[in-house]
Symmetry: C2
Subunit: 382 residues, 2 copies
């Protein structure tokens, strides 16, 4: 199998990540922060180290402001619902995922909030202008994805963060396709809250994620046992406990910690460069195939992450990906949980075939892929 | 180390559980329910099998009505907040954990709901009477733990479920200390919704849990990408998707599936009998030590799960557990996130030392434990 679906989850995981998970069952097998015995304390320290590593990796506001979640979607729900109150307005980009739009739509339908969508353009200046214009007097929050999960477009986080700061608007970033793929620096980019998955660019296990923030006053979405202030019926206000009720995913967190270590040792810049080189090779190859539609003509000039979408004229993206699968290539067809992006890019009828390679993808894989797509485009398969 | 803290998390996990987690990284390493390629479909099938196994184990209402969560606390929050609306009344037992009381307290403080606590007595008849009396005309829901996480008391679920059914009240069970420890049969016990952790009696990894229900109309707590109905801004209403947004903890679910298989092959009845025999031996030994306070005099007669609490006269439970830890015994001191239970049992000043053995605990472990406690009680340690 040639696996080109790393935007859904990175595969395979580094061997050291799998070993970290496996070893955690013995070395960090007690419930952290609950009991006071050695194994529990040792486990709690390991979990705390994972917070510190994530905090350092994203230049966050301290290990205590890193709370673990089960995925990026949970982190986004906790963040968004944790700050919005009646009458608030929210600004989001035209590339947001359902993990942002569905919670907002839910709050809107309840009559609590409103939101506006700003278009992301080829020109960064125009994007910034659109963002500025979308901000209203009652805008409390902007939620922006670091990278489009369908088209790979990188959003100008630093510029948008600067505007949000100047306008007194909270700036939340959906790091689903950005964490571990492009450099994200919370302080430099004025990010108030960063939501990340552990299982994509950070190479950790599925079932991991985190919310990193600047210490703001979130109302928790979930209350319960935290192992702290047991006698209080109120959820503790201290972080990270405030946002972490119930037993943590210790094996997952140990794997994520190792995943981040691997990414750090390879270097995000180097990973980005290698993966983007591969992606651009695929893009160039696809450009030469008749009947193939591509959507980001500026990929070779502008800022893109290693995710690209295409279609074959007259075919649904899911049929194309099914044929590729039959021939041993794993990509994703369909809508990728991002209706906004498809509306914006004009692909709402067919969806897109999404290709997301990794540093392991080689020249041979690319050739096999391009040959197959050529055959599909020329109707050599039924 | 003699590990007697299985009520916090079971340790060590069976070797086959660790192997199932490890192997999942290769065999079930794609994102389930997202892409259509073989590895993704294979992973989705494995996850579905885990639903089916849990459904069968608890005699539930179908695999589609099993949604995975990151722990039992999340499951309880999803369940409780998913059904309560303005003006509802809730009945809970005097043994509920903060995972039940904190969400309810939060809703109460918001002015949305009210709740009453019924006392669990030695006499089942009296307990049933108290439960009946606590139900009001506006009672929508009863939430009852299967087993007290501090004192091991088993609640008469079948009798309470029957009353709830007759009164038209939803009957939710917190299976934190009951799942895999005592038989729980949703249909026989009229349980509308069962919340469970995967990492305690079911021997799965930390970071796993589930909500099993009878198909009722839950309003989801979290919205986001589900891989289904991508183009709809509304959260899908179909189960299990409705309650599962974002990427699932596939390694954890694979481990949990194997944990349940191990429990099934050993037999819940046999595990219960063996662990309770050990617990009763400890209880009898503690009874003979001067200055040791025990709280459940009827343990030998009545229904108790393998969890017991004690104190040493004039000492805080956390000092006692610290000395035990120093000598290689892992137990938990303090309040165990259950203020209600301590208020009810009169242990709110000291908390309790909690002992929770497993089938691996042997006669030698018990002797070492009892000898140490005797020394602590006789002030042989400073």
């Amino acid at each position: 199998m040639i696996y080109l679906d790393n935007a859904a989850t990175s595969y395979p995981k580094p061997r050291t990540v799998v070993n970290a998970v496996k070893n955690s069952f013995i070395n960090y097998g007690a419930n952290p922060g609950r009991s006071g015995h050695k194994l529990s304390v040792k486990t709690a320290l390991e979990v705390y180290e994972a917070r510190e590593i994530l905090n350092e990796f994203f230049d966050g506001y301290g290990g205590e402001f890193v709370s673990f979640t089960s995925n990026c979607t949970e982190a986004l729900n906790v963040a968004i619902k944790g700050v919005l109150t009646n009458g608030d307005h929210v600004v989001i980009s035209s590339f947001e995922h359902n993990s942002v739009t569905r919670p907002l739509h839910f709050l809107k339908e309840k009559g609590l909030i409103s939101y506006s969508v700003f278009d992301v353009c080829d020109s960064t200046e125009k994007t910034i202008e659109n963002f500025k214009n979308a901000i209203k007097p009652n805008t409390k929050l902007a939620v922006v994805t670091a990278v489009s999960n369908v088209f790979g477009r990188i959003l100008p986080l630093e510029e948008l963060g600067e505007i949000a700061k100047n306008k007194g608007v909270l700036f939340f970033v959906d790091g689903a396709q950005g964490a571990g793929i492009i450099p994200i620096n919370m302080k430099k980019m004025n990010i108030s809250c960063l939501c990340i998955p552990g299982h994509k660019g950070l190479l950790g296990p599925m079932g991991t994620g985190a919310i990193l923030h600047n210490g703001m006053n979130f109302l928790p979405l979930i209350q319960g046992g935290t192992g702290s202030r047991s006698f209080d019926l109120l959820q503790p206000s201290e972080y990270p406990d405030r946002l972490e009720s119930g037993t943590l995913n210790v094996p997952g967190i140990c794997g994520l910690k190792e995943g981040v270590r691997v990414v750090k040792s390879m270097g995000v810049d180097r990973i980005f460069e290698e993966e983007n080189f591969i992606c651009n090779e695929i893009f160039k190859g696809l450009k030469n195939i008749k009947n193939v539609n591509l959507y980001e003509e500026n990929r070779m000039k502008n800022n893109y992450a290693p995710v690209l979408s295409f279609n074959i004229e007259g075919k649904h993206s899911e049929s194309v990906s099914a044929i590729l699968d039959k021939h041993g290539i794993a990509v994703r067809g369909g809508f990728h949980c991002s209706p906004l992006a498809h509306n914006f890019m004009g692909t709402k009828q067919t969806g897109t075939v999404r290709i997301s390679p990794s540093v392991r993808t080689d020249k041979k894989d690319i050739n096999i892929l391009l040959n197959l797509i050529r055959k599909i485009a020329f109707n050599e398969f039924i």
